[in-house]
Symmetry: D2
Subunit: 362 residues, 4 copies
């Protein structure tokens, strides 16, 4: 049951990295939304490996096909199924993976749970699974934009110890996309790229932090008690491959403040709206959006696939050495940006539909 996310705007992803293909079924999309495969493809291309010199050199075109739910360019309110075919790949590249567990991958746990796994390229645990999420996220973003001009923008905040200076309240998609590392701080971005390239040449990898902001979110989204908006977002982003931490608003750093320093005082703005002077709450109070910008951060560990020898064991229970060879992605962060955006957009869209109903929201 773990392959479905959301309640009213609900996605189910499917597919292994090898086999027929990967994709998603989106149930609950409001009817009469204009949507095209091309729009979805734009987001998939941001997620795609091989899009720049600092990502994995695997050439995947990841062309999507809409199988259902859209008629004459508009959504029907019925399930939208999107398929991306897998390419024929030389699976002998992966022969070693059939028997040796890659450290910090899911090989061993899948075997423990299921007693079987598609060992080619990671199978279901491959980041390729996120294609379905990003495709669905493209639709969620469009709904959010149409209903309330909501913008969901992610960017690389930090690579290892290189942290960019970015204002989440004003950052634009253009700034994010202006460089291949997706850090809107141009000067820092250059150093990040240099670090990633150097690490990649060594066969090693680095991680970092993606920050994401959602602006213009209407007040009132989020269901106490368990389906608090930040709880649902936390689940969404912590279900992304390689994520190890989440924080909203002031996050872990906020624990260093006292209550009087941390509280967000209220005021009435020029439009008569109740607003907060500061935004340590990160746009959510009591689990419900308060109209301020929702700001969150996700920690991604350094990619587990590296070109270095590592001690490991076989599925027969024998200790062995995994030779580090073949292609690897020295840093997943730039490609993780659209993934984080997708999960945030999916959660917001789900709660928007809980609030307004599927057929009444647009």
């Amino acid at each position: 049951m773990g392959n479905t996310f959301g309640h009213l705007f609900r996605i189910t992803t499917f597919g292994e990295s090898h086999g027929g293909g990967v994709g998603v079924v989106i149930d609950g999309c409001p009817p009469q939304l204009e949507i095209s495969a091309e729009e979805i493809q734009v987001e998939l291309d941001r997620r795609r490996p091989g899009q720049s010199k600092i990502t994995t050199p695997r050439k995947e075109t990841d062309t999507c096909e809409i199988l259902s739910g859209v008629f004459e360019g508009k959504t029907l309110g019925t399930p939208i199924s999107i398929l991306v075919r897998n390419k024929d790949t030389r699976s002998q590249d992966y022969d070693e993976m059939a028997v040796k567990y890659r450290p910090s991958h899911a090989d061993a746990t899948y075997d423990a749970k299921y007693g079987i796994r598609n060992w080619q390229g990671g199978g279901r645990s491959s980041a390729r699974e996120t294609i379905g999420r990003v495709a669905a996220g493209a639709i969620a973003k469009k709904i959010l934009r149409q209903v309330a001009n909501v913008e969901v923008i992610g960017y690389v905040k930090r690579i290892k110890d290189l942290e960019g200076s970015v204002d989440p309240n004003t950052v634009t998609l253009e700034q994010v996309e202006s460089n291949i590392v997706r850090c809107p701080d141009a000067e820092c971005a250059e150093r990040m790229i240099e670090l990633i390239e150097q690490t990649g040449r060594q066969g090693n990898s680095v991680g970092g932090v993606v920050e994401c902001v959602a602006r213009n979110v209407p007040k009132g989204l989020g269901d106490p008690v368990f389906d608090k908006l930040e709880a649902d977002i936390a689940k969404g982003v912590m279900s992304l491959p390689a994520s190890k931490g989440f924080e909203i608003g002031s996050g872990f750093a906020g624990t260093l403040l006292t209550g009087i320093e941390h509280n967000d005082e209220f005021y009435i703005d020029e439009n008569g709206e109740t607003r907060t002077v500061t935004n340590r709450s990160g746009g959510i109070q009591g689990g419900i959006s308060n109209g301020e910008n929702i700001i969150l951060r996700v920690a991604f560990k350094p990619t587990a696939t590296i070109r270095k020898e590592q001690k490991t064991v076989t599925n027969e229970g024998e200790e062995t050495i995994l030779a580090g060879k073949g292609r690897h992605d020295p840093c997943v962060l730039p490609r993780a940006v659209p993934m984080v955006e997708a999960m945030v957009a999916l959660v917001l869209c789900d709660h928007l539909l809980r609030y307004h109903g599927q057929c009444k929201v647009l």
Copy 2:
């Protein structure tokens, strides 16, 4: 729909801080488990305000009653309903709260969403709601212990900038409960208590970090893709009042390492089990437990209720001053420990039942 958590071991909490009472319905509990109100009460007493000099002085006895699902001391497999009555309280203490929004509380967002709220003592957004969670968590813990000797132990890791030194692999419940701040580092605990008392006297509050470990978790729990074990835990703890951040294993700090430094190499232990040399994964790989200790941390902001004047607004849209008076809890962390344990236990128990089925697990 936001008041239900879990799928096979599923809890639904109810109740405001004022009114008839608060409680929980637990659906899916395995039959024939011996359980008593007394056992549940032990955990509720750990959560209770007024249990020590450093928590809120409100005297709540929080005595629980099991209304259903238990017969002659054993669970029936039917819903277990647990009720804790509210006390008659002088609601005039709260009169100001009827019109003035308390900063960084849920007053304003509840009004924005529902157009109505029980303004006495926080209503549904009160931490009193967690009584139901902790009661259910007591049962979840017992199931986990019986099935696989699983131990779920939380403790205060940090208060503001005072961080205790604790080994999650060996810490015991006795050590946690040996002092009122629930930090097993005795020396640090004293300084924490002093800080909390001093902050409380100033009418201010502090936050910090709770760390939690689950030991002896069987391999194979957790459902990829969205219901990864860490994703479900993240949702659970991020739905607790005042939580602002979550991390598993190496967490945010892990992003400062390179791949070769971060990866957990495998070996075969003396029992022929596949194990990892290090545990930066935090006991979960690919969303599935790998048999190592599950270790996680939760950031709690400083309590929003303080005894200081703050700028705020009324529900009529007028700016005003909220006088800081009355009782307050200078630090929620010691009481948050059983809450975090409960959420972790609930997630593990849910996945245990997915794996083994409700009636076959015990």
Copy 3:
């Protein structure tokens, strides 16, 4: 997980016939609905045993208490928990039930599934469980009435072979409540009462058919494909104790017609609305309400509890005789009427909220 029904308007019932009490938690109720325990009590009294000479003589007052979710007479949007205490009863009445399985009851299957059961008075499988449903149904009915003037009216259509003549398009609650058997055909009702009394004196029981109509249902409720309105209603009423069959519109009899005879032709009414000339569809087409009256029937078997000797077995696997003694209800149909109404109202309310959202519907 079987104790929860609905998605956006979601109820969870709890409680055995003996023990602390029975009740319900209603999650998703729209805020600002005026509701009182008295209004709910009206429906509970229609469900109550002992309300007339033809029902079981057990005197249960079934007084309900609202524990949460209502403040100053209005719903908060938070979970509404309703509790009805059980009475102290002389459980020695039931001693035989501890070891002997009552034919066509749930005693044996509960033991097979759970290995334990509360054998006093049926435990969880007792019709007393429906108290929670009827209480929740009272609220659902009020929402439906306020939003769209929807009326949900059930009545006894048939007892054994005595079938009343009732027009579902015009029948009123007053007509239903005008006699104790709840059949609006007064002449037939008298014969039904006579049959039930005579059967009861013989220690035997009879069953029959409840018909239910929902009028003024807005067009567009119901989610294809699996959550068709009639599918959700079917699940709801088939989950009532003793129900053995369900039909909508033309039902089983409709299979005797040909297509040209069965099809509901369309016309435009005086308000310009698309209407159907006939209503063999029963108000639902393609799983979605079409604005015509929703008409359905539910078959209830004769009550399994009778005052006659029957062959049975013990929980130790020995054949034995169950002496028919004590009190019994010769016909559950009059009390089943509010149960059927409740399930229909709950389904309609759930779909109404899916359509309009929880906070926007009122």
Copy 4:
């Protein structure tokens, strides 16, 4: 959210009759089950139009492709996605359908709900949607067979007023498949075929009743209270196109008996098993399987598509005449047999997994 069915064995169907294709994602399938597209195709061919002279002459090959979840002939425990491509069809056949609502179809209600529909061939409301159900049902049946030798066998019990004589306790698949109408009573089957052919020549249609038996179902499946086995089955089959009624065991006819006549007395069989002498309960008591054969019936109305002129209206609100032309299926019953079997198997498999867990059941 209406396109998903089941909890632990959970299917999501997608697709309109025209467009890219139709299919299903099956989440929760146990790992290591041997399955092939060929096995699934067998069931799809039983559902396919054009398989005999008495079904619709549309030639659909409905060849399925497994896109994911199967590796080297075995299931992985990950989602199984199955796709059947739609054929290019001359949509001008359907031009009239773009504006005129077909009586007793879903055209008008889809427009009322969504404001848009794929009017080609019924779109999402087409019986073509059941391809996904039948494909998933093929897998569910195989699991049931492997785990407990469960057999799920459906057949045509009645066409209009022609009722076959069939013993559900002994009927075989071979008998069902021995004639094109799928009625194991050979003599009656001939008369049914004659009736269907004659009706079809007149451009008219007939309905009837499908009976289905599940044998060797283990005791203990089914979750009281709302997820009673018969309630879940009722929902499943009442969500099939054209179904108007459901009954289990004695059904509507059982209401004509008295309690003493209807009750199923218990005895101990030669293996020491608790059994019932009669089976008016239909294999389920208190919502839980009792080990006896589960027997149920589903009423299907005469097909709405006929070749006769009918009064109708346009989507612009004007009255008009729908010319009856083109192809039509005079009786859906033979093709409904595998659909009913699929829904019954899906429900049983879901409850089997709740009982045993996904990874432990095989």
